[in-house]
């Protein structure tokens, strides 16, 4: 079936602001969401590694408990920051996103069930982690596995939304929507790419914890720094390999975008790769010198640039996939001037209020320990 015949027409309502406004909001909020997700998933994975992979069980358990107490807050952070890109994604790419979601409807719906279970699991583990681990470890395994599975389903859906030619075959084979996008060549490398990024950022999470405890409990903090820093380095090294595989799995024309065909994409790509490699060296240096400031400040700064580049590259890649089917010019635009300024105002107010809340709690100055 010709994919052009099955791609839904957009609804009659015009875009209530210029295209680029939504694009910027989409990419920026996606960036924030993915960072929060990385802390959650990476923190969870490293908590498990600490619990079962550490040669010093006491230390491993302590790190596990330390992380377990933090994770419940990262779920709402990830979800809330995820709602915004989900919203803006629907504004621009609804035709593709709704359809691919329907094609894999049940797995997609079950994301909600899995997320609820995982979330309660994280809370359970955090309540149990007073001193004894007990069942908290097993529950945490379940929660982390569920989050991984959710990530895998997101990879399935988003790759499927970019492949209209596969929709009809899958849909008519099972209209109840028990489908995935497993034949997609980039699926596994793409998923691994996100997974490793999460582990790396999870490592940074430990580095932040180390920094917060540096004076109060220096011995423990140094262990945290070592563990987190190494996790970051190993994950990022593996990332370089997976990144190459991912690039190789792209269709040739799309691959070439990052290798000269598209200047912006190629520059971002180079910055991204050099940034990642640079971050590894920085971290290794910081570990050798036991310089927590360097590990907790410079490495994240470099990494933020890398993630920002990757987020933009991801968007360029999406538009390249959809090029035959999607043209920004298809949208009629009628800016809602009676609402847009109100949103901007409230958004600004919301951000300020948010910082005031954190500040009054003492989270910005570090006077009170983060919970």
């Amino acid at each position: 079936m010709n994919p052009l015949n099955v791609i839904p027409t957009i609804d009659p309502n015009p875009l209530p602001a210029p295209y680029w406004v939504f694009k910027v909001l989409l990419v920026v909020t996606f960036f924030l969401h993915i960072v929060a997700m990385n802390f959650l998933l990476g923190g969870g994975v490293l908590a498990l590694v600490a619990r079962w992979g550490s040669r010093k069980p006491d230390l491993g358990n302590r790190m596990f408990l330390d992380l377990a107490r933090k994770l419940p807050v990262l779920v709402p952070a990830t979800v809330t920051l995820g709602i915004a890109p989900l919203l803006f994604l629907q504004v621009l790419y609804g035709q593709f996103f709704y359809t691919s979601s329907i094609v894999m409807a049940w797995p997609w719906f079950l994301v909600l069930v899995m997320l609820t279970i995982a979330y309660y699991g994280f809370y359970y583990a955090s309540f149990r982690s007073g001193r004894q681990i007990g069942r908290a470890g097993a529950v945490m395994v379940l929660s982390v596995l569920l989050i991984l599975l959710i990530g895998f389903l997101f990879s399935n859906n988003l790759t499927l939304s970019q492949s209209p030619s596969r929709w009809a075959g899958k849909y008519f084979a099972d209209t109840a929507g028990w489908n995935l996008n497993l034949t997609e060549p980039t699926l596994i490398p793409r998923f691994l790419h996100f997974f490793l990024a999460a582990v790396a950022v999870g490592g940074l999470f430990l580095v932040f914890l180390a920094q917060a405890r540096w004076t109060a409990d220096n011995a423990y903090a140094r262990q945290l720094l070592r563990f987190g820093g190494k996790a970051f380095m190993y994950a990022t090294m593996a990332q370089v390999v997976v990144g190459i595989i991912l690039l190789a799995s792209l269709p040739r024309a799309l691959r070439m975008l990052f290798m000269g065909d598209n200047t912006a994409a190629s520059i971002l790509f180079v910055i991204g790769v050099l940034g990642a490699i640079g971050a590894i060296f920085l971290m290794s240096d910081a570990l050798r010198k036991e310089n927590v400031r360097m590990a907790a400040l410079y490495v994240p700064a470099v990494l933020a640039v890398v993630i920002a580049c990757m987020s933009i590259m991801r968007d360029i890649l999406r538009d390249a996939y959809l090029k035959p089917f999607f043209h920004p010019a298809q949208f009629a635009i009628h800016t809602q001037w009676s609402v847009l300024p109100l949103f901007l105002l409230l958004f600004l107010g919301g951000v300020i209020l948010w910082f005031v809340m954190l500040k009054r709690y003492g989270l910005l100055t570090g006077k009170r320990a983060a919970t």
Partner: protein
């Protein structure tokens, strides 16, 4: 759903799935609003009276509050988005494009709300009293504000106001039911704050404290429930009367659930007062029962709202099956009129079987059913059409006749069938395989009541005002003759070929009803 997007085949009913997600979510999200006010006011009270016991309970209650609202409430809220995107993509797409700034504003409030809730929760141990309460207030105000936004958009779907003409954001937002619904929901939210508090109160061991907690909770529940009827009345008066008429009988499901809502509300109220009899000894079971009955009441209310909105998802604009009620520029050819002209098999993007010339018409009919009917029906589960067909005993010819007047049944609960004659034939062919009825069986019923039930009851009701009773001639022969050609009596009626025997039985039953029930007969109709 429609032809523009694929339709998710949910065996037990897409509508049922949506209802389950939505009802669980509202039961928690209203608590999230009312419960916020409950927390800050209770905290103030406890601190003013130096009430350590109350404060201790409130701390534990906050944890319960967070686990219910921040976890389940937030995820089920996202759940609504996931689910409507899967079940009603066209409606979602319209709502997103028309109201994205509303949703974005709501998201800002939501973000503030979640942060404040968590800091309030973790802050019990860390913050001094005033500051702690400040987080509580920030939480409540943000939660209320997000309710204002969502309420505006949900009520827009029921009473779209002048939006359908001018497509202006605020015109749709401040629609006729916006304020009554907001007041109604806020009262519900306050009641739920007390209802959930009863649960944690009933877990207290200290009878004295428990007694105080129960009484305090009832102070939230009883007055809020008591004002609901008045607010409901205001709400109902802003709904167009012809829409509200659904619950007066013509739409059985809506009618039943409206009754449930009222009865369960009264039961909730009574049970709450019952808790006051021995407040110090209130068992957990009673508090759970109150919550369960309240869930039933709230679920029924939401069900009625969704039911009377039918056939629309967005009133006077978009039908539940994703067809636009009027042809609009940019609708992609998916309005009823356009589909009537072009035909489904030509308009639909997501149809596997387009060949109407083949022998197997039912296969195409199956697809048409999925495209046009499955947003509200299944074949044999939720609103199962098989069940209706068994009840009515329609053969294939009669099904087809009825398809042409679908939009009139049950006070217009359904969109009209859109498509060509050949397509309606194919759909009838499919439907007749669900519950096969022969032409002799469809003409078998011999008592008037059954003839009425099988042929007229989806549009006419046994009531003094119904035109069937007011206009049908009294004289049996004249009446029977008139009924040979229903469309000539009223053009929108189905062309049913009832045999003489059935017509006469029907007429005589009608006359018995008139006598037995004392239905008046208008001067013009009766002779």
């Amino acid at each position: 759903m429609a032809m523009n997007y694929p339709v998710w085949d949910v065996t037990f009913g897409a509508g049922l799935l949506m209802a389950m997600v939505a009802i669980l979510h509202v039961f928690v999200s209203h608590f999230a609003v009312g419960g916020g006010l409950f927390l800050v006011i209770t905290e103030r009270r406890a601190r003013r009276n130096n009430d350590v016991a109350l404060l201790g309970w409130l701390k534990a209650h906050t944890r319960f509050f967070v686990l219910v609202t921040v976890v389940f409430g937030a995820i089920s809220g996202v759940g609504i988005w996931f689910t409507i995107g899967l079940i009603a993509p066209t409606a979602t797409s319209n709502l997103i494009h028309a109201y994205v700034w509303g949703w974005a504003i709501e998201w800002v409030f939501f973000f503030v709300e979640i942060t404040a809730a968590l800091l309030y929760y973790y802050g019990w141990e860390k913050l001094e009293a005033r500051l702690h309460e400040w987080y509580g207030w920030v939480y409540f105000i943000a939660a209320f504000a997000s309710m204002v936004i969502i309420n505006g958009i949900i009520t827009f779907m029921l009473t779209s106001g002048t939006w359908t003409k001018n497509h202006q954001f605020w015109k749709g937002f401040f629609n006729p039911t916006c304020f009554p619904s907001l007041a109604f929901r806020f009262a519900v939210a306050l009641a739920l704050a007390g209802i959930y508090a009863l649960i944690t109160a009933s877990l207290q061991k200290d009878a004295l404290l428990k007694g105080r907690l129960v009484r305090w909770s009832v102070c939230w529940i009883a007055p809020s429930l008591a004002v609901l009827p008045a607010l409901g009345w205001w709400y109902i008066h802003k709904i167009p009367p012809e829409v509200w008429a659904d619950v007066r009988g013509p739409m059985p499901t809506a009618t039943h659930f409206a009754l449930f809502a009222v009865v369960l509300l009264a039961v909730t109220f009574t049970l709450t007062l019952l808790a006051l009899v021995k407040p110090g000894r209130m068992p957990l079971a009673l508090s759970l029962l109150v919550a369960l009955v309240a869930l039933g009441a709230m679920g029924s209310f939401e069900f009625v709202r969704e039911a009377i909105r039918k056939p629309y998802v967005i009133a006077n604009y978009l039908y539940a099956n994703s067809l636009y009620s009027d042809t609009t520029p940019g609708d992609g050819g998916f309005s009823v009129d356009e589909v009537n002209t072009a035909g489904i098999v030509h308009s639909a993007k997501w149809i596997a079987n387009r060949d109407l010339t083949k022998k197997d018409q039912a296969a195409v009919g199956r697809e048409i059913f999925r495209l046009e009917c499955e947003s509200c029906h299944t074949t044999d589960a939720y609103r199962g059409v098989k069940h209706y067909l068994a009840l009515r005993q329609w053969d294939r010819t009669k099904i087809q006749a009825m398809l042409s007047v679908l939009g009139l049944m049950h006070n217009g609960a359904m969109p009209p069938f859109a498509g060509t004659d050949a397509e309606s034939r194919a759909l009838a062919a499919f439907l007749s395989t669900l519950h096969p009825v022969s032409a002799t069986a469809t003409a078998a019923a011999s008592d008037g009541q059954t003839v009425f039930d099988q042929n007229c009851s989806m549009c006419h009701r046994i009531s003094p005002g119904d035109t069937l009773f007011t206009k049908l001639p009294k004289d049996p022969n004249a009446a029977s003759k008139a009924l040979t050609d229903l469309p000539s009596l009223f053009p929108a009626m189905p062309d049913l070929k009832l045999p003489d025997r059935q017509r006469l039985a029907l007429v005589s039953w009608v006359n018995t009803q008139r006598k037995a029930r004392g239905f008046g007969i208008s001067a013009k109709g009766a002779n």
